[in-house]
Amino acid sequence: MNGLLVLFDLVLLAGIVGVAWRCLASTDLFRAAVLFVTFGLLLALAWVRLEAPDIALAEAAIGAGITGALLLVTLERLRSIMAERRSGRPHTPPPDPTGPHALLRALHDPPPERRTFIPALTFALVVGALLVTTLWHQPPSMGLEPVVDAHMDASGVDHPVTAVLLNFRAYDTFLELAIVLIALLGAWSLGRHDLIPARPAPGPILPGTLRLLVPVAIVTGVYVLWAGSHAPGGAFQAGAILGAAGILLVLARPRQLPMAPGVPLRLGITAGVAVFLLVGLYGLAAGHGFLGYDRAWAYPLIILIEVAATLSIALTLVALFVAGRPAGDDA
């Protein structure tokens, strides 16, 4: 049985490295994007094998799902920009796929030049070999599992990962929410959003499926959020699931985005950090330390923070997919 597991590990790792290699070696960007999604799904399997179901959930939903959607819509945007530029100039000849203008083709990257091969390979090999040598010489360390285990009673939740994320190291999690928000602020500062280049799919199939899937996604999201206090799950996974549902809704009607009014949308995307910060400041004032909770109130406060965070993450992910700030935000 142990031998089978080792075989599984070896095959899985070979698959992961192989897919990553194919992804980085491909000249067609669409192929690279699809391979990257595959890479993410294989990683999720590896996380399950390493007894990290929370990470597996997050990797599948965020690493593979949301990143995949972002990659594909980016490629579609690049394609439509290039098509516009070409049609805008009828007299420009089509680019020669082998000439110096090959770089200008939107979804194609020519094979790398030969002269970077030796230095890049040497550099990567040296770094990789040094890392592997170092890692092989490391003694098994205790980690912080015993310490976390000893304090679980005081954390307000029953799932160690959630306890670390929202209680013991809540500051990191707060900043993580802030980073999601900053990424959106950055994307919005680049300009107003333009139409998503995807064409609406004709026919009743997609809207029909969405009518079925979106309620299921919402139920699943809420379930994953609630489950986070005692089992794998939590705000980030739930936010990603709800965000994915939102992205599907956007895709079903790419031409008729609801013109989100500025103020409620702003409040929605900041709700996570705002609620978190308020609770944190209250903790400071009440003498539990910044981002600390009274032991009796830890569970409800954590749930409150998680609900707000889920909402903000879902909204932010959809907004990052749409890219560019909505017109209502400038009013």
Binding site: D28, A201, P202, I205, L213, V216
Partner: protein, 98 residues
């Protein structure tokens, strides 16, 4: 004991369908026949795998969850296949499909 044996047999049968679907995806000449091979084989394959796993479930809740997974994958797969086919019908095949 019987449950374990049933699980094993059903999983193996499911894997055969997956393998067939994958072979079809790789070997068939155009998008439509690839879709045909992939979706049919995968739906049946996943169904068999789910059925096999049901014998290992600890209660009705787990069985329902497994069933739900299968139904959702069916719905998503059908829609995705439909959209790929439709896009191919109106716009032709992708560069990378050839």
């Amino acid at each position: 004991m019987i449950a374990n044996a049933l699980t094993g047999v059903l999983l193996l049968a499911g894997l055969v369908f997956f393998a067939a679907g994958t072979a079809g995806l790789l070997r068939f000449p155009d998008v439509y026949s690839r879709l045909h091979a992939l979706t049919k084989a995968d739906n049946v394959g996943l169904g068999l795998v789910v059925l096999g796993l049901m014998f290992q479930a600890s209660g009705p809740a787990d069985i329902l969850k497994l069933l739900l997974i299968w139904l959702l994958v069916l719905a998503a797969g059908t829609t995705a296949a439909h959209m790929v086919a439709q896009r191919t019908w109106t716009h032709g095949e992708f560069e990378s499909d050839r």
